[in-house]
Symmetry: C2
């Protein structure tokens, strides 16, 4: 029985990939993914059959994976970050119902929350909420409700998809909502191009974040009420030091 | 200048470790960590100087790392999962102020939310909140507030430290609070010993979870209102399929 490995490549798709993910890529003759991710790994694994579909054609890409697997070949379906966090794992499980003979394994990767936190310092030492600002598949009212709830309950907040051409003011709107219950001096961080050329990060206040433009390659972190800037790092204390 | 690499080993500390984490362990002559994690890697990297302190002595362990680094040796400070999620990264950054000559790099790992999600299926396809039920360093009122907020705003919820000997009824209490705003039939999951011998998972309803005992090696997932059980997997749809 052939198998699909839904594989998170981690940020940048090089040494932040897990050993398991690398072994999967070595093993599978067929690798399927969005063009940008394929390009990240093609050089490392040249002797593979690479298949792709454009952005937004996720369901087609999944069916392509099952069809290749039905031909008897093991398939790696790759995503950046973690396939299990806003990734392809869910759709593969849903479409998998139509292909009962194909086995599916999810191979987790480092998601942008973990990868970005490591660059900034240690913002995720305490309870946190991960929220996507993309309203492509989610009503904006739901996103608003979650932003407000997370802000009021003093979660550290990690924002995925904080901006795109069509949504250039969404981060500003999100910061406005969070500011209804949070100190404007709350320590925040922006990471960009995690694990890739041009990787960068910036620490700033919530007030400043509100008026900062970010791009679609960014992940945004909003600290909780205890988060501080320490030697240029964003750190949320857990409390061990006082124990 | 010597360097401390605060390194997440991922679940199980074998092939779910990143290539970067493995390279760090190969490179560093000194490896420091809680005994349980050290035991997981000692066999793979036998020719190292291993140092440890008991549980709860986290600050001592960090100072030990800085003192070894000041002697001129690169040090790997290891944690299971991701050092940046309820891990040692924060304390190392805090204590690092006292040792300005030692460089620190955080090497992220697969945290239990990602590792557990992969075993269950795809529960984290949409916005989620990570909450620790340990009140060792956090007032229980804060935990309650976050549980209620996350439940009301329909986040998928991932619970770390859902139980211990002293807190055997905390998961029950947490489920009770979540049930104030959520359907008793909400799809939930429990993962145990992620990436290790005896790895297992179970899918059940929120109502059933309330009366289920879990141990300290478990991570608990509570779905959002759209999460479903699909062929024995816990899946939160993102919506792609309808696009």
């Amino acid at each position: 029985m052939s198998k699909i490995y839904v594989t998170g490549l981690g940020p940048g798709a090089k040494d932040q990939m897990t050993i398991r993910a690398k072994n999967v890529l070595v093993h599978c003759p067929v690798i399927i993914g969005y063009t940008v991710y394929i390009d990240l790994i093609r050089e490392q694994f040249p002797d593979k059959q690479y298949l792709s579909t454009p952005m937004r054609k996720e369901a087609d890409r999944c069916r392509m994976a099952f069809e290749e697997a039905e031909k008897g070949q093991d398939v790696a379906m790759v995503c950046s970050g973690d396939a299990g966090v806003y990734g392809m794992a869910g759709l593969i499980c849903e479409i998998g119902k139509e292909y009962p003979d194909v086995e599916v394994e999810i191979v987790p990767g480092i998601t942008a929350a973990s990868g970005g936190a490591a660059i900034l310092g240690a913002p995720l030492m305490h309870d946190f909420a991960v929220i996507s600002l993309s309203d492509l598949l989610t009503p904006w009212e739901t996103i608003e409700k979650r932003l407000r709830a997370a802000a009021e309950a003093d979660f550290v907040i990690c924002l995925y998809n904080p901006s795109s051409r069509k949504r250039s003011d969404y981060l500003q709107k999100a910061c406005g909502m969070i500011l209804e219950s949070r100190d404007p001096k709350t320590v925040c961080g922006i990471t960009r191009n995690i694990g890739r050329d041009g990787e960068s990060c910036q620490i700033l206040t919530l007030d400043q974040l509100k008026d900062t433009k970010v791009d679609m390659f960014s992940t945004v972190f909003i600290g909780n009420s205890k988060t501080m800037e320490l030697n240029g790092r964003m750190v949320t204390p857990r409390g061990y030091k006082d124990v």
